[in-house]
């Protein structure tokens, strides 16, 4: 799936006219073709009977939208037709050296989902819970999203943070312990932020001060935190579970008025405080990185530390500060595990979310907003498994569980490819 680069000179007299260079990517049409073939094969190989019911609201909602019942296979075939049309359009645009517009990609994604879901839910007695799917996507994306934001800040300052997983786990652990002792989720949250920053401090000490390879330190820190938290869990928490490992969770806070908006309201605005903080964090981090002096300096240090140093920016101090803030941001994600999701810590409870966050950073091309969208995509891919099991889909659950990872693999390999990291990311700075 390599990008096709077409170089063409319009005129023989190169000196008089500029050379005309067009770069069109083959990725969109290739991905479209692949996905259309996948859905086509599914529909052909396993045609199903009956209707699919999509449920959009609960009985208790202020506005009740009636459930929609559709003939499953007919809808699926219509969706497939849309997919094929979009694919052809994309190929035609490619042949004319034009890019596929994003809108077409969005239409394609929706059609694919609609087709797949109506096939999956065919003939099921239970309705397909659309609202729950959306709210579960947001919830499952919380740690990934905070992790991705932290990772993006770190890499923008020139430090690759593979230790996101360790930061999530450490802050989940500390949030559980402090939250249980004080019986106050806010104290747990603050402790989680400190824990995330502490892991970042160790990462900084080794990578910035001792200039150890950043990837190695990150990987080893993950193992270290996993070992430490598991040790403490077995040795201390399990023996005093009542005092040390039973937190009071953040309650769900429905926002007045907005929470009554059909579909979106129940899905997005009947969440706990950490989710609302997440909604705020994305624009905040974006603003801080791109519109403040701090962000400009941070990015300068990540792109060209020598130049930044020349104009008087303290490279090492800027990197330390960025890492600590990033660690605290990741700490919010860790707090989600023990203050929102469940009320007790468990061994290795992050289960690789930090690595998906890392992938989201790259998928989002080191931009906080795009990284957040990537995190939501992975959250959605994970939530799909639960929704599909409600309607008893014929796809084995292991394949649905595999989906987020396969999506990441395709995303990183296919759609992103050779994207450009901040130039000095991963390289320690040695002052002359």
């Amino acid at each position: 799936m390599s990008a096709q680069t077409a170089v063409r000179s319009d005129d023989a007299s190169v000196s008089s006219t500029l050379r005309h260079v067009t770069v069109t990517s083959k990725k969109y049409p290739v991905v479209f073709t692949f996905m259309s073939v996948v859905l086509g094969l599914i529909l052909l190989a396993a045609p199903r009977e009956g209707e699919t019911k999509f449920r959009f609201s609960a009985e208790s909602d202020f506005f009740v939208i009636p459930s929609i019942s559709v003939p499953a296979m007919r809808v699926a075939w219509v969706c497939l037709a849309i997919l094929v049309l979009a694919t052809i359009t994309s190929w035609v645009l490619y042949a004319r050296e034009r890019r596929t517009p994003l809108v077409l990609g969005i239409v394609f994604a929706f059609a694919f989902l609609a087709g797949f879901l109506s096939w999956g839910g065919a003939g099921s007695v239970s309705d397909f819970p659309v609202v729950r799917l959306i709210s579960a996507s947001v919830l499952l994306a919380v740690p990934i999203l905070f992790g991705a934001l932290g990772g993006a800040i770190g890499e923008r300052a020139g430090v690759v943070n593979i230790a996101i997983e360790g930061q999530l786990l450490a802050s989940a652990f500390v949030a559980a312990v402090v939250g249980s002792i004080t019986k106050n989720p806010w104290a747990g949250l603050v402790a989680a932020l400190v824990a995330g920053a502490l892991v970042a401090l160790v990462l900084g000490a080794f990578t910035i001060t001792y200039r150890v390879n950043q990837v190695i330190v990150g990987v080893v820190l993950n193992v270290l935190v996993l070992g430490l938290t598991s040790f403490m869990y077995t040795q201390v928490l399990m023996k005093n579970a009542d005092q040390l490992n039973r937190t009071v969770r953040f309650p769900s806070l429905p926002i007045p008025l907005i929470s009554e908006v059909p579909i979106i309201g129940p899905a997005l605005f009947r969440q706990s405080i950490i989710v609302y903080l997440m909604y705020l964090a994305v624009p905040l981090v974006w603003f801080a990185l791109y519109r403040t002096r701090w962000g400009l300096r941070l990015r300068a240090v990540g792109e060209h530390p020598l130049a930044a140093d020349t104009v008087g920016i303290k490279v090492e101090r800027t990197r330390y500060r960025a890492l600590l803030i990033a660690g605290a941001v990741v700490g919010f994600g860790g707090a989600y595990y023990t203050l929102v999701s469940v009320s007790a810590f468990n061994r290795n409870m992050t289960a690789g979310a930090g690595f998906i966050a890392l992938a989201a950073v790259i998928f989002g091309k080191w931009d906080p907003v795009r990284a957040a969208l990537a995190a939501l995509l992975f959250g959605f891919a994970s939530a799909l498994e639960g929704a599909m099991s409600v309607v008893g889909s014929p796809v084995p659950s292991q394949f649905m569980l595999m989906l987020p990872y396969v999506v990441t693999l395709f995303a990183v390999a296919g759609l992103v490819g050779r994207s450009r990291a901040p130039a000095a990311s991963g390289i320690p700075y040695v002052k002359e």
Binding site: M1, M402, V412
Partner: protein
């Protein structure tokens, strides 16, 4: 991720460069004094120092969480001796249990019983040798293969299926299962190599995703009747390997050590030959040292990337094969890799990516695993402490100045130190 050239090659760690630089500058000196300084001030001194520091940190953890110590600390100012005695007792109990479980059981009656822990350690070390070698080959070529778990799982699927589904005479059956398993590991790693070569996707991300994918694939195969699941069983576990596919025990049925250990030793020799004496190894190292220079010299970097991952995956695959055909011959389930894929990272780092170093590190970590199990059983200390000690060892080794500062080891000569700092400078400039 980024274009690979933007980042420093992972294995181009300063200690390795340090060694080279030191050797070059100190050649005219007296050989014996050089050897002494190599041992005390050089990389091996740091390695031993790192192990000592990590064990001290482990002691602190044991003391901090020990019930007896906590009780004694309640009246510390009244009788401080009690606390020290309790702490000392906890530490010595823990580490003597570790020693009993890993090296020599001095409580046993006979020599045959006493030596058993050492054999258990070597048995644990067997898969670590293979996977550590695989990681080391990747490091030398500038690739960070975190996919040990997935590659071991794929090797286990391949070898395991041949192992119970086919009917063949002994050496042939075992060898066929080994070949298929190793090829499966190489294939799974090759996907990551291919993706990197074709699209530039960073191998750290792709191998992690391939780990999870392989895990759920194995889970699916084990949970679906007619595939890998043992017939007539509802558990996600394979049937036992046939006798003709198993690796025979080396020292009789009393010990767990099996033929796989010899295959692992052979892999050490093979990896040494590959990296130091073969043309392919030379291209691997050239790409690892400097991909730009390698490209200028006419090496196809993309193709080399794929080959590095294939070789790396094959070696990790050997680890998966020995697990299935040697250690857990009664069938395996989703935890077949037993965390070895991740331990291999620390093994390769501790062994400084040299085949002999990996062998030593694998035996050390095998000992930690065996001893950790005894420590958990005898003293109730969670086995996770071994993970902590292992990762601390690697952290300390990665930062030689830190270890030297804490233990006050002599610094290697000033000139080589400055030399060692130079490559980083060039990159930053």
């Amino acid at each position: 991720m980024s274009a690979p050239e933007d980042r420093p090659a992972v294995p181009a760690e300063s200690p390795a460069a340090e060694d080279v630089a030191r050797k070059r500058t100190e050649e005219p000196e007296n050989r014996w004094s050089v050897a002494f300084r190599e041992i005390v001030g050089g990389s091996w001194g740091v390695s031993v120092g790192a192990v000592i520091l990590a064990i001290i940190a482990g002691s602190i953890m044991i003391v901090a969480t020990d019930e007896g110590v906590r009780a004694a600390s309640g009246y510390f100012f009244g009788r401080p001796g009690d606390l020290l005695a309790a702490a000392g007792g906890a530490i010595s109990d823990a580490y003597s249990a570790l020693f009993r479980g890993a090296v020599w059981d001095y409580r046993a009656d006979s020599f045959a019983e006493s030596i058993r822990p050492l054999m258990v350690s070597l048995n644990y070390a067997t898969p670590l040798i293979g996977s550590g070698l695989g990681l080391a080959v990747g490091f030398r070529a500038g690739l960070f293969n975190i996919g040990g778990q997935g590659q071991m799982i794929f090797a286990a699927i391949g070898a395991g299926w041949i192992g119970f589904a086919l009917q063949l005479p002994w050496p042939l059956h075992m060898l066929l299962a080994m070949v298929v398993g190793i090829l499966a590991g190489a294939l799974w790693a090759g996907i990551a190599g291919l993706l990197k070569a074709l699209t530039g996707a960073h191998e750290v991300i792709t191998t992690i995703m391939l780990n999870h994918t392989a895990y759920y694939l194995l889970f699916f195969l084990l949970a679906t009747p007619g595939l890998l699941q043992a017939p007539g069983s509802a558990n996600p576990k394979t049937p036992a390997m046939l006798e003709s596919a198993q690796m025979p025990k080396l020292l009789g049925s009393g010990y767990h050590l099996h033929l796989g250990f010899l295959f692992a030793l052979a892999a050490v020799v093979f990896t040494w030959w590959l990296m130091e004496r073969s043309k392919l190894g030379l291209t691997f190292r050239a790409v690892g040292e400097n991909p730009h220079a390698a490209r200028v010299a006419g090496i196809d970097v993309s193709r080399t990337t794929v080959w590095v991952m294939v070789v790396s995956g094959a070696l990790v695959g050997l680890a998966g094969v020995t697990q299935v055909l040697g250690t857990s011959v009664t069938g395996f389930s989703t935890d077949v890799d037993a965390g070895m894929g991740f331990d291999a990272i620390t093994v390769a780092l501790l062994g400084r990516s040299s085949p002999l170093g990996v062998l030593a590190a694998a035996i050390l970590f095998g000992g930690f695993r065996a001893g950790g199990a005894t420590m958990q059983a005898a003293e109730g200390i969670p086995i996770e402490i071994v993970t902590v000690i292992q990762s601390l060892i690697v952290l300390f080794i990665a930062a030689p100045p830190l270890v030297r500062a804490i233990l006050r080891l002599p610094k290697p000569g000033q000139t080589p130190r400055r030399k060692a700092a130079q490559p980083a400078k060039e990159v930053a400039a």
